[in-house]
């Protein structure tokens, strides 16, 4: 009696493990899904109304690694759901671009695979060449500058920002305005990056910006690494990965990060921390993220509708509401569809940022991987 029960329980556990290991793969694809999966524009499906109808029928959209406090994504997701009644699953909100690519590869054919991606540029390029992305052109395609999109529409810039210096105005009485300032003895034990530059894109960009300030260029990131090495030696640099929590607790009184994340932190922490944000005068570095539709999206119509939404005036202003600079900003200023109050709230920028090519970025990453820990450790 007892034994047979153990046996049954054992077999049951094996079956349960086997099923979870395989995951739930469902092949609920209908004719309209197939049509949506290959649609290169809303017109291919018979216009926006047809796209909306197909997306509503799917009823769900799987997004991945979209933090609610990042570039206005919290509101964008809520408003999309409100507008179209499509439920959004946000998987792994604090993940990375590589996590997104892994998810596309590993969850292929499953219901919970990501439909759309928000990728760093090199990841978008590598995913496109691995045929993981479906070509799609949103209705406002012409408003995206040519240099900021793939001609086939496999990826296109969505929003970006500048590397900026944030500081706690209560602790820091003489604020830094440049990278050169950060070396001052006043800032001992106070300067932080947003993470490990061999892993976090924002920290990598911070080092790139410092390099530009210190005589480096798109081909040479080493002066930035050396700069942080000196900051470490003088005790100014603290290797604490800055977050809103470390800002609030006062651990990272000066933080180098994307301006949209810093202004967002300032807004969230209003009344607790007097967080101010400046774009450094000596190292101007901007970067854009990219939207892409997964080639194996389980909800192809909803995926395409999400892109249409993000590139509508409402969606682009939604990024602006998260203090990120939307890619169609210039066109929106021309058409008068941009929200001026939101635009005026952004840190002021003067000068031009270089946009390193993929080859230059790859070279810089190799240099960082080889030298960061050696120089700064």
């Amino acid at each position: 009696m007892n034994r047979s029960r153990t046996l049954a329980a054992g077999l049951l556990a094996v079956v349960a493990l086997a099923t979870t290991a395989c995951g739930s793969s469902s092949g609920a694809s209908s004719a309209s899904d197939d049509k949506a999966a290959t649609a290169k524009s809303a017109a291919d499906l018979g216009g926006m109304d047809a796209l909306i109808a197909a997306a509503k029928k799917e009823g769900t959209l799987n997004v991945i690694t979209l933090p609610r406090t990042w570039a206005g994504y919290g509101d964008l997701m809520d408003n999309f759901t409100k507008k179209y009644g499509i439920k959004i699953n946000d998987a792994n909100p604090d993940g990375s671009s590589q996590d997104e690519i892994n998810a596309v590869k590993q969850l292929k054919g499953q219901d919970r695979a990501p439909d759309v991606l928000d990728l760093g540029s090199s990841f978008a390029l590598s995913a496109a060449s691995a045929n993981l992305l479906a070509p799609y052109q949103v209705s406002t395609w012409k408003d995206i500058p040519d240099s900021q999109k793939d001609a086939q529409g496999r990826w296109f810039n969505d929003y970006g920002g500048y590397i900026s210096i944030g500081y706690d105005a209560k602790q820091i009485t003489t604020p830094p305005t440049s990278f050169a300032d950060l070396a001052k003895p006043d800032y001992k034990g106070k300067v932080a990056l947003n993470g490990d530059p061999t892993k976090a894109g924002a920290a990598f960009a911070g080092v790139f910006a410092a390099s530009l300030a210190k005589g480096g260029n798109a081909d040479n990131i080493q002066p930035g690494i050396d700069f942080f090495g000196e900051l470490k030696k003088s005790g100014n640099f603290i290797p604490v990965g800055a977050t809103q929590a470390t800002i609030q607790s006062g651990q990272t009184p000066i933080t180098i990060d994307w301006d949209y994340l810093q202004v967002s932190a300032a807004d969230t922490l209003k009344g607790k921390v007097d967080w101010k944000v400046v774009v450094p005068t000596d190292g101007l570095y901007a970067n854009y993220y990219n939207q892409a539709v997964s080639a194996t999206a389980p909800h192809p119509a909803a995926a395409r509708l999400w892109e249409e939404y993000l590139y509508s005036a409402e969606g682009q202003n939604g990024f602006l509401k998260g203090w990120a600079r939307p890619v169609e900003l210039a066109a929106m200023q021309g058409a008068g569809t941009v929200d001026k109050t939101l635009l005026d709230a952004l840190p002021k920028v003067s000068g031009n940022s270089p946009f390193p090519t993929e080859a230059q970025l790859d070279a810089a990453k190799k240099v960082i991987a080889a030298n960061w820990a050696k120089t700064v450790g």
Partner: protein
């Protein structure tokens, strides 16, 4: 007879859930790491990843990881042994014994991000203890929690209790009668430890050292939360290539680094198991 055989087979069947668990959560991932380590992005076979993992800067990471694991294992083992020794001399069933064994059981598994943040909150630059000592005129802000010394300190927080847990049974197994017999035969205390106690304790001590080494080598979250990449440990490098926003298309280099870790940790654990077997001969 026949019934016994059947019974034994049925008992083996009861082991199935565990075996399935091991296969799914240990076997399959290990195989995929090993296979991936020898593949390029397109799926072809290559030794390139192994070559990259064995070269600069990743070789350096293996060296640093080994250094920090060995250092914390040795300090942890020595201090842990001393504590366990002191406690084993206390009366059995006493309060000290209970407190130390309970605390060790809990603290040995207090690791990862919570541990890192506990230390940052206590002795980080804005930490409670730092501020408190500062107001009392003692400045410890010169000590960097975010470097080699900091990691060593934090690792010891779980290494020492683990050592106490692992070595305590061996100390308990040393029968008082052996020492009595030795002194009856005219041995001094020193002679007893040199000729009887020491040789008996050596295998479990070395085994525990291996276990502590493997424990530190595989630790990731604590170091990642504390150092943010300025100390190049192997697990941190793996995270950077496997799930980062910077490196592209280097998943298989991550697999190769993982293979290196599996080999090193596997060797250490094999050493532990071997020493355990020797110990169990006299420890019953």
């Amino acid at each position: 007879m026949a019934e016994q055989k059947v019974r034994r087979r049925l008992d083996l069947l009861g082991l199935l859930p565990f075996l399935a668990y091991v296969a799914v959560f240990l076997g399959v991932p290990t195989i995929s790491v090993v296979v991936g380590a020898f593949q390029d992005d397109a799926g072809g076979w290559t030794l390139g990843n192994i070559g990259a993992a064995a070269g600069d800067p990743y070789l350096h990471a293996f060296v640093v990881s080994t250094e920090i694991s060995a250092l914390t294992a040795v300090i942890g083992a020595v201090v842990g042994l001393a504590i366990a020794f002191a406690v084993s001399a206390s009366p059995p069933g006493g309060a000290l014994r209970q407190v130390v064994s309970t605390a060790s059981g809990v603290l040995a598994y207090f690791a990862g991000v919570p541990l890192a943040f506990a230390f940052i909150a206590a002795i980080g630059s804005q930490g409670l203890v730092t501020k408190w000592l500062g107001s009392a005129g003692l400045d410890i802000s010169g000590f960097s929690l975010f470097g080699f010394a900091g990691i060593t300190l934090v690792y010891l927080y779980f290494q020492i209790p683990l050592m106490v847990l692992v070595i305590f049974p061996a100390l308990e197994g040393l029968r008082p009668q052996w020492q009595e017999a030795a002194s009856n035969l005219g041995a001094s205390r020193w002679q007893y430890w040199r000729l009887v106690g020491g040789p008996l304790l050596l295998p479990p001590f070395l085994g525990a050292l291996m276990l502590l080494f493997a424990n530190a080598f595989a630790a990731y979250a604590t170091a990642a939360a504390l150092t943010n990449g300025i100390i190049p440990l192997v697990p941190i490098q793996i995270a950077a290539v496997m799930s980062g926003n910077v490196a592209v298309g280097q998943e298989n280099l991550g697999n190769a680094l993982g293979l290196g870790m599996i080999l090193i940790v596997g060797l250490a654990l094999a050493g532990y198991a071997w020493m355990q077997r020797r110990t169990s001969r006299w420890l019953r």
